[in-house]
């Protein structure tokens, strides 16, 4: 497979995953705020940190209320992490992948982009927002299913999996980081009821609430939730699970020795951490490091498989229309 196409497939998967995760976050936060009493609520600010968009959001000096943050996360074309931007980038990548993706999947993607644009106005009203976001998550899951059920297990598939799992591991670690920052670090025998609700929201952001119960069969606790989202090997949105998937993908690819070395460091790092006993401040640093490691895996993948970045003059020429004149349809 062409190096350039591998890169496009990889980023398509990352952008789609990013859009889905952001939709989950906004949706869960909307619900969380309904359950918490005023004065206790962490509000919408944490979502700016989870999505790593503090640097884009703050300099604007706008209000940080629900409406502007939701608008920023869902619809803002100038926020590169917004759902709208993620889907726009995904569609740019998808355009060049018609010959790679199964036709039905490509058509579903195309529909997804069109519907998103059409329904975007319903995202901002609280009443219709839930359905709007649910549809994004569902369509994304449908796409995963269509790919799962119809696509050859070829190199393109491997790069889709790489992109999806890397993005997912990254986002899960962010959610664990920011949400736990607002919660008391010390294990008291009885969590305050509102704390429990917030730990539940961590799980729900990942659609992991029910899976947590099935797996742990114990009440919510900080150490258990953190262990579940970071180190579970059965839950498909847990960091470790995603990293194991990445390992499998890499083993199917040529020249992967160096990337696997980088990955091995992350595994070692994750298994050595004592989650329950950590002070919050230490936990935050640890997760920061984890994200750096994940980013390192990305950098090594890019170095090994993707073409060198295109220079500006080439990009300009590629964007010029109709350089071949005989296109007279």
């Amino acid at each position: 497979m062409l190096a350039r196409v591998a890169e496009n497939v990889y980023w398509l998967a990352r952008y789609l995953e990013r859009a889905e995760n952001t939709a989950r976050l906004v949706s869960v936060n909307t619900n969380l705020l309904l359950d918490l009493p005023a004065g206790y609520t962490p509000g919408w600010q944490p979502l700016i940190d989870i999505t790593g968009s503090r640097e884009t959001f703050d300099p604007r000096g706008g209000r940080a209320d629900e409406r502007s943050i939701v608008q920023f996360l869902i619809a803002d074309p100038d926020n590169p992490g917004s759902i709208a931007s993620s889907l726009k980038m995904a569609s740019e990548n998808a355009r060049s992948l018609r010959d790679v993706l199964p036709t039905a999947t490509w058509e579903l993607l195309n529909q997804f982009f069109q519907q998103f644009a059409e329904q975007l106005p319903t995202a901002l009203s609280k009443r219709t927002r839930f359905n709007f976001l649910k549809r994004i998550v569902l369509t994304s899951q449908m796409l995963t299913g269509a790919i799962e059920g119809t696509m050859n297990r070829n190199d393109a598939y491997t790069f889709l999996m790489l992109g999806r799992n890397l993005e997912r591991a990254d986002m899960t670690s962010r959610i664990a980081d920011v949400r736990s920052a607002q919660l008391p670090p010390t294990e008291t025998p009885e969590l305050r009821p509102f704390d429990t609700i917030q730990w539940m929201s961590v799980l729900k952001s990942l659609s992991g609430y029910q899976m947590y119960w099935l797996s742990r069969r114990t009440r919510i606790s900080r150490a258990d939730v953190l262990g579940f989202v970071l180190r579970d090997e059965q839950f498909p949105r847990a960091c470790l699970f995603c990293l194991k998937q990445i390992e499998r993908c890499l083993r199917a690819l040529p020249h992967s020795a160096k990337v696997l070395d980088t990955l091995a460091i992350v595994f070692g790092f994750l298994s050595d951490v004592e989650l329950g006993a950590l002070e919050q401040i230490v936990l935050h640093d640890i997760i920061d490091l984890l994200q750096l490691h994940i980013n390192g895996v990305h950098a090594e993948i890019a170095k090994t498989y993707f073409p060198a970045p295109v220079n500006a003059s080439t990009m300009r020429q590629l964007q010029q229309p109709d350089t071949s004149r005989a296109l007279s349809v």
Partner: protein
């Protein structure tokens, strides 16, 4: 309310569906019977279904706007098909094969002995002044002596029913993917008709194209690596490039994916390393193929590609230099070429053309600008031409100056009143003018698409069918009336 065919004004020109008596021509009988059973609302519902299908399937073409950059537009398809009887098509097909055979002989001759010049049939001066003549192709023998592997010829029908060839596109003709997709959509919309009428299929084009490309491979001892070379997603025909690559199971590559290495072979950069390429179906014009030979600033092509091709290490379709015959002044000689190379009488006539390069004919053109169409010899897409009868006196005067300054650059033709096909306009069915672009593949053998892409001028009375200028398209049915 059903369609009132007696009110359909088919008398002013040749209509492809409705005959002079108001009834359907043989090839369209089943279609007209079917349409007559529908009322206008039902046809409207089907048109909407077709438009939805096109949106869902992502069938687009790209238009360039000064302000907004490249925009993807849904492909315009009118659901009422254009019908041609198989018996007539067999003759057209033979005429196209004959034409392309002569054109290929001509291009090969241009780059070798120029027998046609020596025989006094074709003037040497035209070759020397052809914008698409490539001196570096002299003496090169591409695989199977074939240069124009993919040709898209535009054919039209005049008022008296005669079918003419209007031009031959021998560089990078596009549109074939829309021919196939139009059929997919119309099959979804009129499934009943395909059960009852004998409509010949069109969808084997990609496999024919693939076989043709494989036949050009320099290494025949293994499964050749065939790729489609595109300028990229911003090109107006990108949809088609991706479509054909997908249908053939080939990689769709851009210039930046390729390199010519020390062994003068072409390679693409894959995640496994460099993979050698045998055949390139290039959708980039000659000028951009190789910056070391043509435009040095081009990054769409590959440095060293011409060297690799000249050494026979890679096949290019169409071959560089094939465009020498894609010149409307050369077009005027095609009937002579057929007689010269094949010793046959041309099956399909050209449209009567005046060569502005010849002083007598230029005088005639200048004296009759108000009744002629004057076209630049290397133009396409309907740009840069003068529609005499529609132009103002000022426009004609302005054009005459250009014409006199560079007569080699123009030919003139009478305005052909193109045939019409019933077309769904708003909530009515009205006649609209059409042309037809069949595609001809040549390598070991010659293949002609079953029908081709019918383009339709959607504006009333308009003869401009280009989709970049408000044209639409129709599915084209070759109907076996004897089946």
């Amino acid at each position: 309310m059903s369609i009132d065919w007696t009110a359909y004004p088919a008398r002013d020109q040749y209509d492809e569906l409705v005959g002079p008596g108001g009834g359907a021509r043989a090839a369209g009988r089943a279609l007209m019977r079917y349409l007559s059973d529908l009322d206008k609302e039902e046809i409207g519902v089907r048109q909407q279904a077709a438009e939805l299908a096109i949106k869902e399937m992502g069938i687009t073409f790209t238009v360039y706007h000064e302000q907004d950059g490249s925009i993807d537009r849904a492909w315009p398809l009118d659901i009422i098909p254009r019908t041609i009887a198989r018996k007539e098509w067999v003759r057209i097909e033979a005429g196209l094969k004959q034409r392309v055979a002569a054109l290929n002989r001509f291009i090969d001759d241009v780059y070798h002995d120029q027998r046609i010049v020596a025989a006094g049939v074709f003037p040497a001066s035209i070759i020397a002044t052809s914008r698409n003549y490539r001196p570096m192709c002299v003496g090169i023998r591409p695989p199977r002596g074939c240069w124009a592997h993919i040709c898209g010829s535009d054919i039209v029908r005049g008022k008296d029913g005669t079918v003419y060839v209007l031009e031959d596109n021998l560089r990078v003709p596009s549109g074939v993917s829309y021919m196939i997709e139009n059929r997919q959509v119309v099959k979804r919309v009129f499934p009943e008709l395909f059960e009852s009428a004998a409509i010949l299929p069109v969808d084997d084009y990609p496999s024919q194209l693939y076989d043709m490309l494989v036949a050009l491979a320099p290494r025949q001892d293994r499964r050749p690596e065939v790729v489609v070379l595109t300028p990229g997603i911003f090109n107006s025909a990108y949809f088609e490039h991706a479509y054909l690559a997908r249908q053939m199971g080939c990689e769709l590559v851009e210039g930046r994916d390729l390199a010519v290495l020390d062994d003068d072979c072409v390679y693409m950069r894959t995640i496994r390393g460099w993979t050698r390429i045998d055949v390139i179906y290039r959708r980039i014009d000659d000028d951009f193929l190789d910056p070391t030979v043509f435009r040095p600033e081009s990054t769409l092509g590959v440095s060293g590609l011409m060297r690799a091709w000249a050494k026979g290490n890679v096949a290019l379709a169409n071959a560089p230099g094939a465009g020498v015959a894609d010149d409307k002044l050369v077009y005027t000689y095609v009937p002579d070429m057929i007689r010269f190379y094949l010793d046959e009488a041309p099956i399909l006539p050209n449209v009567r053309s005046w060569r502005c390069s010849e002083p007598d004919e230029l005088d005639h053109v200048l004296a009759h600008l108000d009744s002629l169409v004057v076209k630049p010899v290397d133009g396409s897409g309907g740009y840069g031409m003068l529609m005499g009868p529609a132009a103002s006196q000022r426009e004609r005067t302005h054009f005459a100056t250009q014409l006199k300054a560079n007569p080699r650059n123009y030919i003139a033709q009478p305005v052909i009143s193109l045939s019409t096909v019933p077309t769904f306009v708003g909530d009515r069915i009205e006649p609209r003018h059409v042309d037809l672009r069949p595609f001809i593949l040549s390598a070991a053998k010659t293949f002609v698409t079953t029908g081709g892409l019918t383009r339709v001028a959607l504006r009333q009375g308009s003869l401009v069918v280009n989709s970049s200028q408000g044209g639409g398209s129709k599915d084209t049915w070759i109907v076996d009336t004897e089946a």
